[in-house]
């Protein structure tokens, strides 16, 4: 029991929350960027997978983690553009296309992995590179806080910085305004001469960019190789985290952190022999409850305002 308390209250535990949250947060931001323009990107999972794969491959070939990252993100963006092409030009159902792209990515990465390394499970026989961890000057010397906030993977910082950038982008910039307009009323956007198609392409591209970072983090930070289907549903979890947070990047962040917390807790909880099925279930139960509370409180809030007014 002592160990458990020790496990939960240790700075490393909070540190690990941030790390576990990172890929989910990228996925959530990817979901957000497509969702504000009115398209649900089910293909995030596949994009992450592609990026994770190419990141490892190219970093192994070139010996540079950064070029690997670039390649990974590029592959994800290309995939997102292909998805956009099917959706916007060939008028494929977006959900269906997303699922098809996920299937495609899962198959293609394993196939290519085999082609390049002769191995179908993982790239662990390949010497690939990881992106560095970063100590934040000043903060790293503060006792507990430093242990939690400093020394993270560079992409973890990028993820949290992205939250602010994305929020600013969506709500303060012209392109963000156009994105939201297309999402809320495409006819209105069209009526002022905005090309709805172009905007949706852009939003898909940005979504692919975020998914690309998320995938690269998995294979070039979290661990140091590619393994088949290594995203393991994180793209979908990201979609859920975004849905929890609505059209706000901060909302997406809180949603992702909720998942991160529940997941990190579930790892630690296994130690006290709660059946693993239950601890594994934890993040999902958490989400359902959080969703219920959130949705309910929103309803109650509206009711309350009205009642107060009535009394007055």
């Amino acid at each position: 029991m002592n160990e458990l308390v020790h496990g939960i209250l240790s700075p490393q535990f909070f540190y690990s929350i941030l790390r576990v949250t990172t890929p989910i947060l990228f996925a959530a931001l990817a979901a957000l960027l497509s969702d504000v323009a009115g398209s649900t990107n089910i293909g995030i999972e596949g994009m992450m997978l592609m990026s994770a794969f190419w990141g490892v491959m190219v970093s192994a070939w070139t010996g540079s983690a950064w070029i690997g990252l670039l390649a990974g993100v590029t592959s994800s963006v290309l995939l997102s553009l292909a998805l956009a092409y099917f959706y916007l030009n060939l008028k494929t159902d977006l959900v269906l296309a997303g699922i098809a792209f996920n299937i495609f990515s899962s198959g293609a990465t394993v196939f290519l992995l085999y082609l390049f390394t002769g191995d179908k499970g993982s790239s662990s026989s390949l010497k690939s590179y990881v992106l560095p961890k970063i100590d934040i000057p000043l903060i790293k010397d503060i006792p507990v806080v430093g242990d939690i906030l400093s020394g993270h993977h560079v992409l973890t910082y990028i993820a949290f910085i992205s939250v602010f950038v994305v929020q600013y982008f969506i709500y303060k910039t012209p392109l963000g305004l156009r994105l939201r307009a297309v999402g809320e009323n495409p006819d209105a956007a069209q009526s002022v001469g905005i090309s709805v198609k172009k905007i949706r392409y852009i939003s898909m591209l940005l979504s692919g960019l975020m998914a690309g970072f998320g995938g690269a983090f998995l294979s070039m930070g979290y661990v140091s190789w590619f393994a088949r289907d290594m995203t393991n549903g994180r793209g979908f979890i990201g979609l859920a985290a975004q849905a929890l947070g609505g059209h706000s990047a901060f909302g997406s962040m809180w949603g992702s952190l909720l998942f991160g917390l529940a997941e990190a807790a579930s790892y630690t909880l296994q130690a006290i022999r709660i059946p693993s099925e239950f601890t594994n279930m934890l993040p999902f139960i958490f989400t359902i409850i959080a969703l219920a509370i959130y949705a309910r409180s929103k309803l109650l809030q509206i009711k309350k305002i009205k009642e107060e007014e009535k009394k007055a």
Partner: protein, 515 residues
């Protein structure tokens, strides 16, 4: 100089409907040119082609005597064309300024310069005499303002040609007047204006020339002063249309609807109904006049079970029904023609037949126990399509493919045949052509004479005056006027009450209803 020439325009929609069958259309620079025609004649389609939303199947377009190809609204805007659509095209959660500068946002660094945007709007507002509140969200604004936003949207993009697709359908006479003043001003400054309307009186008042479309073809272009309203409607419909409707004396019976001290607060806390009380008898039409946004919508939604949380009393044939939902009220024989046919009145993706039975699908002959009988439904729909002259080739056509006016007819057809005791008609003839308006109004009188109690809400004062047996006027959520016999009452007089300049004593109104 000719601003627009559209030559031999043919448009085939993807479903095979030929909406324009070789239309020729010419507009001179600086004129106000009216485009009229029955519902489904192809007016909107023609304008969408001009604005680049639809591509013509064949035909040629010249703008300022240069041949052009317009592939998108972006092209159209670049060529100086602006369009105000039949159904509003605004982003509800955006502010007025955001809506107007969308796509041409002023920038400060990476951000939108909101101050500059507001300034742009204020300046344009002043210049064209179209006042709007730049920082308010569009969501909460009345339609009159939305209309102005749409026009401003086109103007700040430097439009030299302005298309207005039924801009007055939702406006009060005063608002229409203001709009006309603004339009005339614009025309004087050299703006070319295309004006689509079913209100021939307005066409006569504002336009220099008029082009009539019928069934996708041009019937001719005339100097407005050379043709009378009757002439125009004859050209449109192909027969004479009675513009004045005969109305036999009402024979009011017992009280059907009794509303007492109704109060309602909206979600945002604003009180939109204040002590509303009135009564309505069978066999009579009670007109509710008022500028849109003065509580009529909320009143109607409360009465029809679409909005909850009001306090007071509403009785239907003596039974308290406040707080009941639409499911219950429909079964207590309340029918409802809603203000908004696209959002509420119809399922655009469903067929005409399916739309026509949405309130009676569970009854014979359409259904028995669990089962539904589609053949019966289609038979019924065919009859309704004929009775209400809905222009379509099949009862299985999705309603979304009908023209605006024909959509309205589908809604009207359903609600008139609901066998209701109380019919609440909110803007029943909005966007319907003269021929069909005549039909709907006659139908209203007919159901009244059959003993139905009709609550008629309309922004069209002519309609109110023509049809109502009694009239109440709403202003800021209150009933401020009551008129028993409307003979002699003028639109202008009514307008004073609608704008809150005059009001009757509250007790007098209550007395009139014997409440």
């Amino acid at each position: 100089m000719k601003a627009i020439e559209m030559i031999d325009i043919v448009k085939v929609y993807p479903n095979g409907i030929v909406a324009n069958k070789g239309v020729n259309f010419e507009v001179e620079e600086g004129e106000i040119h009216a485009l009229v025609g029955e519902n489904g004649a192809g007016k909107t389609t023609l304008m969408k082609i001009l604005f680049g939303i639809e591509q013509p199947t064949s035909g040629e377009i010249r703008i300022f005597e240069k041949e052009v190809h317009i592939h998108s609204p972006h092209d159209a805007i670049a060529k100086g064309i602006g369009m105000v659509h039949q159904h509003f095209m605004l982003v509800p959660s955006f502010t007025v300024a955001e809506n107007i500068v969308l796509g041409m946002e002023p920038k400060k660094g990476f951000s939108i310069d909101m101050d500059e945007a507001v300034k742009i709007v204020e300046e344009a507002s002043k210049r064209y005499g179209l006042e709007v509140p730049p920082t308010e969200r569009v969501l909460d604004l009345p339609v009159g303002i939305k209309q102005r936003i749409e026009i401003l949207k086109a103007l700040v993009r430097g439009a030299k040609i302005l298309i207005l697709d039924e801009p007055t359908a939702v406006l009060t006479p005063q608002e229409t007047e203001e709009l006309f003043v603004a339009l005339k001003n614009l025309a004087k400054k050299g703006m070319t204006i295309i004006f689509i309307s079913h209100k021939l009186k307005e066409v006569k008042e504002i336009s220099d020339r008029v082009t009539v479309l019928r069934d996708g073809k041009t019937m001719g272009t005339f100097l407005t002063k050379d043709v009378s309203e009757e002439d125009i409607s004859r050209l449109m419909v192909g027969r004479d249309v009675e513009l004045v409707i005969e109305r036999p004396e009402p024979k009011p019976g017992k009280i059907v609807l009794e509303v007492k001290n109704l109060n309602y607060f909206r979600e945002d806390g604003v009180q939109v109904l204040k002590n509303v009380s009135f009564a309505l008898r069978e066999g009579e039409i009670l007109g509710v006049a008022g500028v849109e946004g003065n509580g009529q919508r909320e009143l109607v939604e409360i009465l029809t079970g679409l909005r909850f949380g009001a306090i007071g009393s509403v009785r239907l044939l003596g039974e308290e029904i406040l707080g009941y939902d639409a499911y219950t009220l429909r079964r207590k024989k309340i029918a409802h023609i809603p203000e908004d046919r696209v959002e509420k009145g119809a399922a655009l993706k469903a067929s005409i037949a399916e739309n026509l039975i949405s309130d009676r699908y569970y009854k014979e002959p359409f259904s028995k126990r669990l089962l539904l009988f589609p053949r019966k439904v289609i038979e019924y729909a065919k009859k309704a399509i004929k009775d209400f002259s809905i222009k379509t080739d099949s009862p299985l056509t999705p309603v979304g493919m009908l023209s605006g006016g024909n959509m309205q007819k589908v809604v009207v057809a359903r609600e008139f045949t609901a066998g209701a005791k109380l019919l609440i008609a909110d803007q029943p003839t909005r966007g319907i052509d003269v021929g069909s308006t005549e039909f709907v109004r006659k139908e209203l009188i007919k159901v009244r004479d059959e003993g139905v109690a009709v609550l008629l809400v309309s922004a069209d004062l002519q309609e109110i005056l023509q049809l109502s047996d009694r009239i109440i006027v709403m202003y800021k959520g209150e009933i401020v006027g009551y008129f028993d016999k409307n003979e002699g009452l003028t639109e202008e007089e009514l307008g004073y009450y609608m704008l809150g300049v005059k009001r009757h004593d509250e007790n007098k109104i209550k007395e009139a209803f014997a409440l």
